[in-house]
């Protein structure tokens, strides 16, 4: 299930090193030739490897941006508009790969989701297989999200609905609005706290990768545990995100 990202990168690197530039024959660096600057045919690597990065979650976005600009200057189709048709095609593919990788990695949540995807975690599948298990055993499916969070989400949604109805009829209930405002502040705090929690799991994940890089063996259980914690935090975050958005929408116009 969980394929090792590190070995993927290692494989890609050797693959790269074995090849030489199609145009001048010099050793090929990555997406373009370091010697003559020509765009190279795309190699199937993940987004981290594309930027020459290890699959760690703490990354400096400013450095990533700089790297993105530098690579754009080499790969963008506008700057290869007069090259041969093969090169133009590679430039288009490499450039779109670059844009996809940058868009994914610069955003902390997308970056985490992408790593989970690389590690073979499929959020949707988890829920579906739990339902199938419940069906087979006749037991009640264990909810991925804690019941008290579900309860809270449901209650606040009821209040929001009340607020929307009142607004439609032109009524105004300052007490209800105050109550929702209070919830909103608490939710935003929770949202922020969840992100901090996520970052703490990044740290343990990155530590694990560093150990692997140093040649130490990391037990599969430990790896899975680090991933599961991130999945859990992202799941809870989805509810809070929707709630904050809905609260903001409902409050807009009522003020």
């Amino acid at each position: 299930m969980s394929k090792s990202t590190v070995s993927t990168i290692a494989a890609a690197r050797t693959h790269d090193a074995a090849e030489s530039c199609w145009s001048c024959g010099a050793m090929r660096v990555a997406q373009f030739c370091g010697a003559c600057g020509k765009v190279q045919p795309p190699a199937p690597v993940d987004y981290f490897s594309f930027f020459g990065l290890p699959p760690k979650l703490n990354l400096d976005v400013a450095t990533l941006e700089k790297e993105f600009y530098e690579l754009s200057r080499k790969l963008h189709p506008d700057l290869n508009a007069r090259a041969g048709s093969k090169e133009q095609e590679w430039s288009l593919e490499q450039s779109s790969r670059l844009n996809d990788a940058y868009r994914t990695l610069k955003d902390p949540i997308k970056r985490t989701q992408y790593l989970l995807h690389l590690e073979g975690v499929q959020l949707e599948e988890q829920s579906k297989s739990a339902t199938e298990k419940a069906r087979a055993t006749g037991e009640v499916k264990k909810q991925i999200v804690p019941p008290d969070l579900l309860e809270e989400v449901f209650e606040l949604n009821m209040q929001l609905e009340e607020l929307r109805m009142e607004k439609k009829t032109g009524e105004d209930d300052p007490a209800l609005i105050a109550e929702i405002e209070k919830h909103k502040a608490a939710l935003e705090q929770k949202y922020e706290a969840l992100f901090q929690e996520l970052q703490s799991y990044w740290k343990s994940w990155d530590g694990l990768i560093e150990r692997e890089q140093a040649g130490q063996a990391v037990p599969a259980g430990e790896r899975k545990q680090a991933l599961d914690k991130m999945v859990d935090v992202l799941n809870r975050r989805n509810y809070i995100r929707n709630l904050v958005r809905d609260v903001n929408e409902a409050l807009e116009g009522s003020s």
Partner: protein, 462 residues
């Protein structure tokens, strides 16, 4: 370089221009009449020969059934999309149009598709450039509103092809303008380009960094511009004439065009004067005269220019920026000459807008810069690179008519996405792929079937 001469073209709703990079700066190539702007007007003369630009203008009044303007509004659109336009513009569609067929417009007793009419304008620009260079021109960069959808872009490319031009790139108008702005500003920072033209409105927010022009967010309205102001004033004038003189001229194309000419002159005058006079000679020696003050004018147009506020706020939201984080607001498009529009931009971005550039020419100049970059660059454009975005989310229509968005709007292009789909029934051998583009506006239109009972709660997905 001579064999690879690439020009930049602004194919506008009201005016079109062609420009190129002369040495290290972009310049507009004038027409035979010595003017930089070629009015986007096409007419057929007495011998059914096409007349383009300033010389076609007189046909709008003399033989309106043989002339057409603002055809950009019809590019890439079907009969069902243009019903609103038909109420406001004197477009005369071919009588035998079938639903789903490409639009055809009547000029005299001939019919033309919108790309064919645009091609006539492009061909005129091509001729102007060829006369200037004394040699053939076959490659161009053409600008389009950032918020144009795929069909509208395709129609623009078709127009280029019909005119005998290889269209190397379509560049978004506000982005093109930013290239012209950035060429002589040479500074890093965040800029907002507010582009209110004859028929379209675009707002783009860009990050300028050592020659990289990275679009962060873009938004707009492909049916909002100076035309809407003209139409409002025309409607008011027609009402006046009906009320005061008991004359119903709404179906009188010549009179409407005469009024249109007069309101446009008044509109332009009001940008520099406190009042202006509408003065139209009507048939039978009668005259319609009315004084319009700037204050009245500003009150009238407020609802129209207010429609630019929503897209600006959405673009800032998408970019994750507050007004104070934007270093400069750049004005593009003829309608930004209106003082009230400038005041609105100042309020929106909390700073005096940058207005050193000629708002009519800056898009064409930017297209020339992009043409130069594609042609291999020069000293002035060295290190310049434009990273643009897709203005609309792109998706694949899946079973049940749901569009599964796979590339979100404001993603840097080129972009790619991979999504796995399963077949709907066992043994299915074929699938139909239906790419879809969607904007916030389209979503709003489609969400009209909100529940009658307010019981279950629905929300739209980001």
């Amino acid at each position: 370089m001579t064999t690879d001469r690439i020009v930049g073209i602004d194919l506008g709703t009201t005016n079109s221009l062609v420009a190129f990079m002369q040495g290290e700066s972009p310049v507009v190539i004038p027409g035979e009449d010595g003017l930089n702007l070629v009015p986007s007007v096409v007419a057929l003369d007495e011998n059914n020969q096409p007349v383009i630009g300033s010389s076609a203008r007189r046909y709008l009044i003399e033989t309106p059934e043989r002339a057409v303007y603002s055809v950009k509004r019809l590019m890439g659109r079907g009969v069902e999309d243009v019903q609103e336009e038909l109420k406001l513009f004197p477009f005369r569609l071919a009588d035998d149009l079938q639903p789903g067929e490409v639009l055809r417009i009547k000029l005299g007793d001939k019919t033309f598709t919108p790309p064919e009419i645009s091609a006539l304008i492009l061909r005129q620009l091509k001729r102007n450039a060829e006369r200037h260079f004394g040699g053939p021109v076959s490659k161009a960069v053409i600008t389009v509103p950032a918020y144009f959808n795929d069909a509208q872009r395709q129609a623009t490319k078709d127009a280029g092809r019909i005119a005998g031009l290889e269209v190397l790139r379509l560049v978004n108008e506000p982005t093109a303008a930013s290239l012209a702005y950035g060429l002589d500003q040479k500074q890093n920072g965040i800029i907002a380009v507010y582009d209110l033209g004859g028929g379209t409105f675009d707002i783009s927010i860009l990050k300028l960094h050592d020659g990289i022009f990275e679009v962060i967010a873009t938004n707009g309205d492909t049916h909002l511009g100076g035309d809407d102001i003209d139409n409002l004033l025309i409607t008011i004038a027609l009402d006046d004439i009906r009320g005061d003189m008991n004359l119903d001229l709404r179906r009188n194309a010549e009179a409407v065009q005469a009024i249109r000419k007069s309101v446009i002159e008044a509109k332009i005058a009001l940008s520099s004067q406190a009042s202006a006079k509408l003065d139209v000679e009507l048939r039978g020696g009668r005259r319609y005269q009315r004084e319009v003050t700037r204050e009245q004018f500003e009150q009238l147009i407020q609802p129209i220019i207010d429609r630019t506020v929503g897209p600006c706020k959405q673009a800032m939201k998408d970019a994750g920026l507050k007004p104070e984080q934007i270093d400069e607001a750049v004005l593009v498009g003829g309608s930004t000459r209106i003082p009230k529009v400038r005041a609105l931009v100042k309020e929106l971005f909390q700073r005096e807008p940058h207005s050193d550039l000629n708002p009519d020419e800056v898009v064409a100049l930017g297209a020339a810069v992009q043409a130069n970059i594609l042609g291999g660059g020069s000293v002035a454009t060295e290190n310049m690179l434009l990273l643009d975005v897709t203005p609309l989310s792109l998706g694949i229509e899946v079973a049940g008519g749901v569009t599964d968005k796979i590339i979100l709007r404001n993603s840097t292009i080129p972009a790619s996405a991979t999504q796995f789909y399963t077949t709907q029934i066992d043994g299915q051998a074929n699938v139909a792929m239906c790419p879809r583009a969607s904007s916030a506006a389209a979503r709003k239109r489609k969400s009209k079937y909100s529940p009658a009972t307010a019981s279950p709660t629905s929300r739209s997905r980001a």
